[in-house]
């Protein structure tokens, strides 16, 4: 049934409560937040793996046009020097969030003369994301963010989603192929692997879950933070990147060979 209510068309039923984040539906859902999460689900996959001596990010950056410069529109950001931020969802929202994270880190440094602990940053970003789910005059952020750092408490990985909920993870995936990525991650014993090993595994997972049919071109973004980088977050060096991609492609060949053999 269609109603026109105050100049706005809405379908009667559960979807009548989806126009503002300040409304619950009768079954207790906030649809705007769920729609924001759908925006995340439409984006390229991002995985984070927390290992023995650091954390590794791998992003499946889907390239929508051959005219783009290589490495443009990066989806991995650095906050302060030691925190990596990888995002899935609306990239514009993600950039705004990265700026907020940088401001938080800067204020923390000005107050306490120390780099912000990543769990504190995850908390602050979670609360910030949540604030945008409370009012009808703003919309929630359409992005999930993963944060990683290596410090006194060892490697740490957190993920915050558009609802503001944030958890610490040993391995995490967001984006369109996150379920298959999760399956792949669970096959690994991430806490026993070093960054050097994990970076190759991460690249392999991205190649495995990438959908060749729907999205032809993609660029693999890899970054890490760990003991070997002195706690600094950085995109991996070119040679490491190339080695990881070779490993991933070789592993893919093996899998497809074994599939054909069967």
């Amino acid at each position: 049934m269609h109603f026109v209510v105050a100049g706005v068309s809405c379908v009667y039923g559960e979807l009548a409560y989806d126009l503002s984040a300040s409304q619950f539906s009768p079954d207790g859902r906030v649809f705007q937040v769920e729609y924001a999460q759908k925006a995340v689900e439409n984006s390229g996959t991002v995985i984070g793996l927390r290992g023995k001596d650091g954390v590794v990010f791998a992003v499946e950056k889907i390239i929508t046009s051959k005219l783009f410069e290589q490495s443009t529109n990066k989806r991995i950001f650095t906050v302060d020097r030691h925190v990596g931020l990888a995002v899935a969802g609306l990239i514009a929202d993600a950039r705004a969030l990265a700026e907020t994270a940088r401001t938080e880190a800067s204020n923390y440094r000005a107050d306490y003369s120390a780099p912000i602990p990543v769990r504190h940053l995850a908390d602050r970003l979670g609360m910030y994301l949540h604030a945008y789910t409370l009012y009808s005059f703003v919309r929630p952020f359409g992005c999930s963010v993963m944060m990683a750092a290596y410090g006194e408490d060892g490697p740490e990985l957190f993920m915050a989603d558009p609802s503001g909920v944030h958890f610490g993870y040993y391995g995490c995936s967001i984006g369109k192929a996150r379920q298959s990525a999760k399956t792949e991650i669970e096959k690994l014993k991430t806490s026993e692997l070093t960054c050097a090993e994990l970076i190759k595994e991460a690249a392999k997972i991205i190649y495995v879950i990438h959908d060749e049919v729907k999205d032809k071109e993609f660029e693999l973004e890899l970054s890490w933070v760990g003991e070997h980088t002195g706690g600094r977050h950085q995109l991996v060096p070119k040679d490491v990147h190339e080695a990881a991609e070779r490993y991933a492609k070789a592993a893919l060949e093996e899998d497809s060979d074994s599939d054909e053999a069967m």
Binding site: F77, T78, R81, R102, S106, R109, A110
Partner: protein
């Protein structure tokens, strides 16, 4: 509530502006009347033309410019900088003077800004610390952007000039003099000076503070009209200048640092000391 803090030094006279109804026994609307008092309170009195005179504009005196020039508290003395073949070298002693008291004897006045810039600071140490934290944060922000653009010495020198000049124009200076060193965009050595007034210039040798009078002639004598110094010769010359400054500057100290910047490397030596030769003291009547 408004506190008026006058220029530093003497005991402060504090003016507190309290809402009128708190201080007067009766309601007084004088401050609300316009320039011409058309209806004086004592309307029943005989007409007095003087009460109808123009009393002047009814405006509050402007608070700007803020007359808050200070005196520096904990200060650092000279910073000596010179260019050599392929880089720059800056030296500064490790003393924070509290007036004439040699109070803090192990403070660093040289700073590595990033891989391409070093600087040294004369003057108020708190103002240096304030700017140092701001510069550090600028460098963090730049690293995060990771876009291949880095701040080099001429850019930082320019930025410092703007900051210091604008502060002085508000009569609220950062009481510091900076010596900024590095390589410019063409890879040639760069050395810049900025003082608390925002005066800025570049030269092959820069000295701030008292050393400007003591060391500048020594540096110029050795460097003007000559081919660029080698790194060893530059270091020797710098140490000689630090020695002269230690003998002759009353606020100098024997322990000092040297920062050397060449293409691709920055080195800060931290444990240098002027070996003073006080044999000449025997010539003095007071020191037998």
């Amino acid at each position: 509530m408004m506190w008026k803090i006058p220029e530093g030094g003497h005991s402060p006279l504090v003016f507190i502006k309290i809402p009128m109804f708190l201080c007067c026994g009766h309601l007084d609307f004088k401050h609300l009347t316009s320039t011409m008092d058309l209806m004086p309170l004592q309307a029943s009195q005989p007409f007095d033309p003087s009460k109808y005179r123009y009393t002047g504009p009814n405006v509050q005196p402007r608070q700007l410019p803020n007359t808050r020039s200070q005196a520096p508290i904990t200060t650092g003395t000279s910073v000596i900088g010179l260019q050599f073949d392929g880089g720059v070298m800056i030296a500064a002693d490790k003393l924070g003077s509290y007036g004439s008291l040699a109070r803090y004897q192990n403070i660093g006045r040289l700073m590595r800004v990033n891989d391409h810039v070093i600087l040294g600071c004369t003057g108020d140490y708190a103002d240096f610390q304030f700017l140092r934290d701001i510069i550090d944060q600028k460098m963090i922000d730049e690293e995060c952007l990771d876009d291949g653009i880095v701040t080099r010495a001429p850019a930082l020198h320019c930025w410092l000039t703007r900051v210091l000049y604008n502060r002085r124009s508000r009569f609220d200076p950062l009481w510091t003099t900076f010596v900024v060193g590095g390589l410019d965009d063409d890879g040639k050595p760069f050395l810049g000076f900025v003082d608390k007034l925002g005066t800025a210039y570049t030269a092959p040798q820069i000295v701030s503070g008292m050393g400007g009078h003591l060391a500048t002639p020594l540096l110029r004598e050795k460097m003007e009209g000559q081919p660029p110094l080698s790194e060893e010769a530059a270091r020797e010359l710098l140490i000689r200048c630090m020695t002269v400054c230690y003998y002759r500057d009353c606020r100098a100290f024997s322990k000092f640092q040297i920062a050397t910047l060449k293409a691709g490397s920055i080195k800060i030596e931290d444990d240098l000391e002027v070996k003073g030769d006080w044999e000449v003291a025997h010539f003095s009547k007071e020191h037998a």
